[in-house]
């Protein structure tokens, strides 16, 4: 590394000054005084420049310097340059910040930045509008002090990626979803979206389906009543036998569809978690297995590896088990087998139905729990399905904190597994111990 030019010239100037003093000292004598004088001169000059530098750093724009070149002028020029750079960078950041502010201000979704203690650090205007936040009092306040819904407090303790719906604290009947996304060191971002409109649509849809099913049920009862009477009438002409039998079958199917629709809307509109009644699963599975065994040449076996019971609603659990077995039986050709398995796993329990049926193409597996979705429409209808069974299973299972997984291979069979978490399962051994 070589010294910059200004340092060489400065050191040169000092050397020159000292050399001059030395010469003068040799010439006139009193060397010490000459040298001291030269150094004093140098220190004085340096102090003068330091004073100028100090004033410049104090914020005086004008540089009160006599010279425009040389060591000090160069240093001051460098400081000026640095300041200019800092100023333009500051301007740039200001502009950037303003743009970020403006764009987050224009967002229709609310955003709130929270620290590790869930205190509000910053929020955008949409968040202020949706939650009624006020900058003056709410920065630094904990978010759950202002959004006090108990469900939100529980969500805040263990945030999941899918967010939570809470009633709007500002307008009656409004709904919001809040999603907490952790980032950086202990900070998190809360995204708030107004879903009032979606909730209303969903409700309208549900009400419509519920009303339509109820309204259709009464006329259908009358129709099937007459068809039943007709089919048993000995005076009915022979030619009408087949049509009437077909009408009877279709009327029965309509009744089943309506029953399933009503069940489904009931599941959707009930409180989100099922009750916790004691349900003996094995005792419930035995008659189901017996009912399907031998039907259409099927072998249905029940393998109960555990006597675990579930805490849930009996009718809904029955509906889960029955629909899954029914589903397996309908898609398994004659001579095939359906295994019903009830076993313990990871502290919880698993209910499985394994069939040797026609299977489901892989790309369609995620869709089979949609209502009225059919892998093979002709076949499903011919086997008497309503198209709602798996949708009911999915909803009822959700209400029991359970999870449905489907694995299948086309032509070889499918496995439907329902996993129930620890909190919903009671093992008899535990129960006996608890009593003792």
């Amino acid at each position: 590394m070589t010294l910059p030019h200004r340092w060489i010239s400065q050191l040169g100037a000092l050397t020159g000054l000292l050399a001059g003093a030395l010469l003068l000292g040799l010439w006139f004598g009193a060397m010490g005084w000459w040298l001291a004088g030269a150094l004093l001169l140098y220190v004085g000059d340096t102090l003068r420049h330091l004073y100028a530098l100090d004033r410049v750093l104090d914020g005086h724009k004008r540089v009160p310097l006599f010279e425009t070149r040389g060591f000090w002028a160069e240093i001051l020029a460098r400081i000026d340059k640095l300041r200019g750079k800092a100023r333009s960078r500051k301007k740039k950041y200001h502009r950037l910040l303003r743009e970020v502010r403006e764009s987050t201000g224009a967002l229709s979704d609310g955003g709130i930045i929270l620290n590790a203690d869930r205190e509000i650090l910053w929020f955008n205007p949409a968040a202020a509008r949706l939650l009624g936040l006020k900058a003056a009092t709410d920065i630094g306040n904990r978010i759950d002090n202002l959004l006090r819904h108990p469900g939100f407090a529980a969500y805040l303790a263990t945030p999941k990626s899918d967010g939570i719906s809470v009633p709007s604290p500002k307008d009656d009947g409004g709904w919001l979803t809040v999603q907490i996304i952790p980032y950086g060191r202990d900070q998190s971002l809360a995204i708030i979206r107004d879903i009032t409109h979606e909730m209303q649509l969903e409700r309208t849809r549900r009400d419509f389906v519920a009303n339509a099913s109820h309204e259709l049920r009464s006329p259908l009862t009358v129709i099937s009543g007459y068809i039943d009477a007709l089919s048993e009438d000995p005076e009915m002409p022979e030619a009408w036998g087949t049509p009437v039998a077909e009408m009877q079958r279709q009327a029965e199917r309509m009744t089943r569809i309506l029953r399933d629709l009503i069940e489904l809307t009931r599941l959707e509109s009930a409180e989100s978690k099922a009750a916790r009644d004691f349900v003996d699963v094995v005792a419930m599975l035995q008659p189901i297995a017996a009912e399907f065994h031998g039907r259409g040449g099927l072998t249905v076996t029940l393998e109960a590896d555990t006597d675990a019971a579930l805490l849930g609603r009996e009718s809904e659990l029955h509906s889960i088990f029955y629909n899954l077995v029914n589903n397996a039986a309908r898609f398994t050709p004659s001579g095939g087998s359906v295994r019903i398995v009830w076993r313990a796993e990871d502290g919880g329990a698993v209910f499985e139905v394994i069939d040797t049926g026609i299977g489901i193409p892989e790309e369609q597996i995620p869709r089979v729990t949609e209502r009225f979705y059919r892998v093979d429409p002709g076949r499903s209808r011919a086997s008497g399905g309503t198209g709602l069974g798996l949708a009911i299973v999915k909803h009822a299972l959700q209400r029991h904190d359970g999870k449905l997984t489907i694995s299948s291979r086309e032509g070889e069979g499918s496995t439907f597994s329902c996993r129930f978490p620890r909190e919903r399962v009671v093992f008899r051994a535990d129960a006996i111990q608890a009593v003792q």
Partner: protein
Amino acid sequence: MEVEDLGHHISRRFNEDLERVRNSVLAMGGLVEEQLDRAIKALSEGDSALGLQVAEDDQKVNRMEVSIDEECSRILATRAPTAGDLRLVIAIIKTITDLERIGDEAEKIGVLAARLASVERPATNYRELRNLARHVKNMVHGALDSFARLDPKGALEVVKADDAVDDEYDSIYRQGITFMMEDPRTITRMMDLTWMARALERIGDHAKNICEYVIFMVHGKDVRHIGIADIEAEVQQGVRRTEGRS
């Protein structure tokens, strides 16, 4: 911020204790708000199961009151707070009592709603009562907001709203009497409705009390049992004093 806290309190743990108990009060408030919400929903949707569920869940509110109360006693005994901190603890102890009473009134509404679900509903679906409920709900919400923000001005707004709620209660009451005189068969239902309106009106009073504690906590002035104009004057004076100090 930590330096400031240390200057403010010798012990940071003390600050944390106060903050935690304040947060629990607001969590309890959130629970009470939800109870009230569900009780009203049980009435407007004729959902008797929900009404009974609300009545059962009142235990949760009671349990929270007991635990916050214990925490406050512990703070008083071990920390011996003074000045603003003492006012905070006193205000909290009073606030949870009122919150618990609001919970009790919500329980009452839940039980009455469950009973009313089995009788024929009027064409208006209890519009007057639902209006009253909405105002009362806003009052409770505003009271808890002003508690969270330590905002005496917000508290004053809620105190002012109480008069309107009282008027609404009076008109429901009078209307009920008219109905009962016209058709004695409605007496049972009308009595239930009047009780419910009464419970709502009481909830409004409790919300007002909470607001008075907020004003007490922030300005150190007891504003109970004085007229609204006087309360307003106290709040204004308090604001001026606070501004003068800073």
